[in-house]
Amino acid sequence: MPEPALRLAGIEKHYGATVAVAGIDLEVQDGEFVTLLGPSGCGKTTTLGLIAGFFPPTAGEIYLRGKPVADLPSFKRDIGVVFQDYALFPHMTAAENVAFGLRMRRVAPGETAQRVKDALDLVKLGGLGDRRPLQMSGGQRQRVALARALVINPAVLLLDEPLSNLDLKLREEMRVEIVSIQRRLGITTIFVTHDQGEALVMSDRIAVMNAGRIEQVGDPAAIYETPATRFVAEFIGRMNLFNGAVTPARGVRLASGVEVALPVPDDVATGTAVHVAIRPERARLTPGTPGDGLALMGKVRRILYLGAAREIHLELADGERGVVEVRNDGSGLGFAEGSEVWLSAPLANCRVLPVR
């Protein structure tokens, strides 16, 4: 079994009484693109900083290609970092910026010049090497920052929300480019973002973080289809969560009284409060009772027009709220605000989640 490119073992970071990172274990294989995803303050940027070596962990160890590096300062680690604000050296040209890491590694000038040129070509900035950061657009600066981190061939590439300062179109363009470059070079990459759309599109695996811990790690489909906790379920995409409790028959009895035969993990005791989770786009709305599966009655409160779809907000019989997304295929809905409808879904689309 080859050494993982990066392994975090029990990493913690405390600032006095504040706990920024409460205990992280993670393994990243060679060439993987792993995203640390979470809201502000969840510790993802701190974790990145720990991997980069900008500050030492309070506890735990970090292994880069099997080598423990937590005691090493940043300049002794084989990493490349792209900062959110790019952090380009304003007194150097783009080419000099990119060459900096090679200079520190005492690469011969001839080879340096060649590698810098290749790196700038890779990020589609060939010929702009003599410009200064001040004279470049945001998108161009971002590419220079990327080239600077890549040219040194780091064992791990670390990206700290590099796209958040770009406008929408540019952001979408850069997402694709970054992934394609990463695949081409095969560099192990850790990407930090709060944008779940970005995470889903770019990653091989996503680690969803909350309050200094990783709540779930998995590939995008696993995270989206089978979220392990309520937090993950609600953070990625939208999720309906209906209250219920575990029945003696090991099913779930919803607050409205309806019973559904959803599989409940063995270690959850009977009577425990749980959620039944269903994605809005996996549910349907019907005028009358559907067959089997999940079925809840409610009244349409609001219909939002999203262009490619419609979002229907319901108030259910027991006071809970529900959301269903209906694709806009040109035909009408068949009901309006105030109508009574049934929210239904096949049991296969539903999951049981702990209440936390």
Partner: protein, 287 residues
């Protein structure tokens, strides 16, 4: 400078606004300096200014050994004080800018607080420390390091220490100003690329704050060469600098011509230095 509203054409209202202040400055600042300039080119006899134009005054100053020594001493003191204050001020400025302590504001205030005391008061502290029966001598005697008291003052060295102490806050202010403009991520970026702390400092931090450092140096230099109180207190007749010599000319010997000439030399030197400082300060890089 931003102009928030276009100049209203045909409205001399701005002249109304500036008339009095400008007049005050013209009469009580420009005119006296012009008088000085002209006095420097006039001969003095029996402690009275005549109206005879002459270059003798400047010739006197630049040929007499005594005054050449004064120039040299003034210059060296300025240089030494400037260098010392940069060496002391930079670490302090860097610390104040980068520290995340919750006492940051207090620490900055503390570093600038000495400015609230008149230079006389601050120099007086050094008088207490450095004089023959002062704190330094007492300490050294008690520790057995010396047997006889040392005459730390009056001396040029004492002047340098006193001035370096008095002008340190100016250097700190200037350097802090340019350090503040440096993105802290730049240092992390350099380190992530393999530069250890020394190389990061010389390759990234120093080039970017050099304008502030150089500007601070020139600022301190220019104040030091025109300092009066500190050289007067910590120095003596044998360690004259430009300011004390001017005082001597004007208030003691009553030779206005020479005093004026020396003052003009001081003006020109200060202007040159401050011009350099302003140029450097104004060219701060910001990204």
């Amino acid at each position: 400078m931003a102009v928030a509203a276009p100049a209203r054409s045909g409205a001399p209202s701005h002249w109304l606004l500036v008339a009095i202040p400008a007049a005050v400055l013209l009469v009580f600042f420009v005119v006296p300096n012009v008088l000085l300039l002209s006095a420097s080119f006039l001969k003095s006899e029996a402690q009275q200014l005549t109206t005879t134009p002459t270059l003798d005054n400047y010739q006197f100053l630049f040929t007499r050994r005594l005054y050449l020594e004064v120039f040299l001493r003034t210059f060296m003191v300025g240089l030494a004080v400037g260098v010392l204050d940069i060496l002391l001020g930079f670490p302090l400025a860097y610390f104040l800018v980068r520290t995340r302590s919750r006492f940051k504001g207090l620490l900055i205030a503390l570093s600038l607080a000495p400015l609230l005391a008149s230079v006389v008061v601050r120099t007086y502290g050094w008088y207490i420390i450095l004089n023959r029966f002062g704190v330094a001598n007492d300490l050294l005697l008690n520790l057995g390091i010396i047997e006889d008291r040392i005459g730390f003052m009056p001396s040029t060295g004492a002047i340098v220490i006193g001035l370096a102490h008095a002008l340190l806050p100016y250097a700190v202010l200037s350097i802090m100003g340019s350090l503040n403009g440096i993105n802290p991520n730049l240092e992390s970026a350099a380190m992530s690329l393999g530069a250890n702390r020394t190389r990061t400092f010389f390759s990234v931090v120093l080039p970017l704050c050099l304008p502030g450092v150089a500007g601070g140096f020139l600022l301190v230099f220019s104040i030091a060469i025109s300092a009066y109180a500190t050289p007067a207190i910590l120095g003596g007749p044998a360690t004259q600098v430009a300011a004390t010599a001017i005082y001597n000319f004007i208030a003691v010997i009553l030779d206005w011509s020479l005093g004026a000439a020396l003052a003009v030399v001081l003006i020109v030197s200060s202007l040159l230095l401050l011009y350099g400082a302003a140029r450097l300060g104004a060219n701060r890089a910001a990204l």
